[in-house]
């Protein structure tokens, strides 16, 4: 059968292109080893400069509490606010905390004391989260302070207030109990790996044959369009499944992350997803005249697909009109499935909408890939 001969040819060509083999081996490993550590949205290492106008025991404890929280790095003390702000402007520090004169006295006798916080909010997330972390540190500090000074003699306000009222909120973090951002990202990274390899490589394939002229020798044969397109698709199918398996093993070995749900659900979705993505790559390849052109078009689409997939930013937070656009993004459904199965243990029945959506994409893109391949000009 012609398909067998064409497949044999694709595999031979693939293994004779060392760069492709290197790419398929190194790329998933590099993504899995490095990226989970750097795409975390946790805000850490906010550097803080303190202007301590009180220089009391309480202010020293307060500074200690900030440093001990784990989110902040104590940059040091500044003489006054202007000097500290200068360091912020030079990007040497992120936040300035001004402890007013009489901080300890006010805490003891007035029942509270103001603290001024100025934070660099150029990166809005870092600013907001930094400020709220600082607020949490302050709250924790004052609770401790009042608890330990509650019955100090000569502290009428404290005695009047009695024991500090305390509401304890007990939070259960479902599905990602350690609140590890890596766990949230890793299922998404699988998707990046599949899209890059199984989307880009087919996009370069047919157009490469056009550039070399070999496509003409194929077009002159009676090979049918579906057979030719399948011969271009099946290798990436196999590659996609292989690469995904390697990535999943790495996720388990390095990060201890195993799917809560069934591996077979992931497999079923992945086969359909890779089919869609490589069909898309082949469509782009069919319409392109040069490899460069195919690269640029793919780059554009993949960037948009990734940013609009919910991979990095939740779709629910997007404006409504862009939320609508995400419905025509196959990545969206696949990522929902990945996170659902990996973290929440979703079963196939829970993912039927995603399944039908992906299946529709696969059918449409597959048909488009066949239709856009022209044997006759």
């Amino acid at each position: 059968m012609a398909l067998g001969f064409l497949l044999a040819k694709e595999f031979k060509q693939f293994i004779r292109t060392p760069i492709f083999i290197g790419l398929t081996l190194v790329f998933p490993a590099a993504i899995m080893l490095v990226i989970p550590w750097i795409v975390s949205m946790d805000i850490k290492n906010i550097s803080v400069m303190v202007v301590d106008n009180d220089r009391s025991g309480a202010s020293a404890d307060f500074i200690g509490a900030i440093g001990a929280s784990g989110y902040f790095i104590m940059e040091g003390l500044a003489a006054d606010y202007d000097e500290a702000l200068q360091h912020v402007e030079l990007s040497e520090t992120d936040a300035v905390i001004v402890i007013p004169d009489g901080f300890e006295r006010d805490l003891l006798f007035e029942g509270g004391a103001p603290v001024q916080v100025s934070i660099n909010a150029v990166n809005e997330t870092r600013g907001t989260l930094g400020a709220s972390y600082l607020g949490a540190v302050c709250a924790g500090f004052s609770a401790d302070f009042f608890a330990s000074h509650a019955f100090v003699a000569g502290n009428p306000s404290m005695q009047a207030a009695g024991p500090v009222p305390n509401i304890e909120v007990s939070v259960q973090n479902r599905y990602n109990p350690m609140m590890d951002y890596k766990w949230f990202m890793i299922p998404g990274l699988f998707v990046i790996i599949l899209v890059m390899l199984c989307g880009f490589l087919p996009a370069l394939n047919i157009v490469g044959e056009k550039e070399k002229g070999t496509i003409e020798q194929i077009n002159i044969t009676p090979v049918t369009k579906p057979v030719f397109i399948l011969s271009k698709m099946i290798p990436y199918w196999i590659m996609g499944v292989g690469v995904l398996s390697v990535a999943m093993v790495l996720a388990y070995v390095i990060y201890g992350l195993a799917p809560q749900g069934s591996i077979w659900v992931i497999a079923a979705f992945s086969v359909i997803f890779v089919f869609s993505v490589s069909s898309f790559g082949l469509v782009v390849s069919n319409y392109s005249n040069t490899t460069q052109q195919a690269m640029f078009v793919m780059f554009f689409f993949i960037l948009v697909f990734l940013l609009m997939s919910g991979l990095l930013t939740p779709i629910e937070s997007m404006p409504e009109w862009t939320q609508v656009i995400t419905y025509v993004n196959p990545l969206r459904y696949y990522i929902e499935m990945m996170r659902g199965v990996y973290l929440k243990g979703a079963a196939f029945g829970d993912l039927l909408p995603q399944f039908w959506a992906l299946l529709a994409f696969a059918a449409a893109l597959g048909a488009w890939a066949v239709a856009s391949y022209k044997k006759q000009s």
Binding site: F5, L6, K9, K12, E216, Q376
Partner: protein, 246 residues
């Protein structure tokens, strides 16, 4: 239609406002070696691509091996072989793998392929090179391989687009020996060329000028008609009137 393998009637191809092939009509008999001559840009390759089903005609009709190129392009493809101007076998496959791939696409069985390939490779003196990647072969060998692949599945017609471009005289001679052999086996050969000595090897030749066929006959008759004893001179007389250049 009789014994004609190729029948062309008013075949035309227009790209935008440029008429590459302008109402050409001719026929080629079975087993004939038909030379298709013309200056660069005369429309030879475009005409050939239409006959092969690679390019859709703007208007006109043609049948190749009994099939209509407008409506039965895939049937046409089953019955022809083609060797493009630019070498277009897979450079990253070996000699044998290329033969096997294309024979396989035409539906030959693996066993038959290997038997036939061994015979042909031995005859060409290629057998020791069967596992060599095609990219490391010299051009003359590549062309011979491309021709062997084009006729491997036993087509009724083989289309050769400047098959000997850039090849040394010895290799060209060997190449034409292969063409004669194919013609003797009943394969109709449709060949474009720039070399006037090669034109003499053809049974009949047509000369295209600016998309039209200006002359069509046997080499001897053409020379008589133009009152000269060389094809070169015939060609110059016709091509001088050409308005198109490269």
């Amino acid at each position: 239609m009789g014994g004609n393998v190729i029948e062309v009637e008013g075949l035309t191809k227009v790209f935008g406002d440029f008429t590459a092939v302008d109402h050409i009509s001719f026929s080629v008999a079975k087993g004939e070696i038909f030379g298709f001559l013309g200056a660069n840009g005369a429309g030879k390759t475009t005409a050939m691509k239409m006959l092969c089903g690679l390019s859709r005609p703007t208007s006109g009709h043609a049948t190749v091996a009994g099939y209509d190129i407008n409506t039965e392009a895939e049937e046409v493809k089953r019955n022809i072989g083609y060797m493009s101007q630019k070498f277009s076998l897979y450079e990253d496959l070996t000699v044998y793998e290329n033969i096997e791939l294309f024979a396989g696409i035409y539906g030959m069985k693996r066993k038959d392929i290997s038997r036939k390939a061994v015979t042909i490779l031995k005859k060409l003196g290629f057998y020791s090179e069967r596992k060599t990647l095609v990219k490391s072969l010299p051009l003359g060998w590549k062309q011979k391989l491309a021709f062997s692949v084009a006729i491997f599945h036993g087509p009724k017609v083989v289309f050769l687009d400047e098959p000997t471009g850039g090849v040394d005289p010895v290799a060209r001679r060997q190449f034409w020996f292969m063409i004669y052999e194919a013609a003797e086996r009943g394969i109709t050969v449709f060949v474009t060329t720039h070399y006037m000595d090669e034109a003499e090897y053809c049974n009949r030749i047509s000369i295209m000028v600016d998309g039209r066929i200006e002359a069509l006959d046997t080499p001897a008759a053409l020379k008589r008609k133009f009152g000269t004893d060389s094809m070169d001179s015939v060609f110059y007389q016709l091509a001088r009137g050409a308005k198109r250049s490269e």
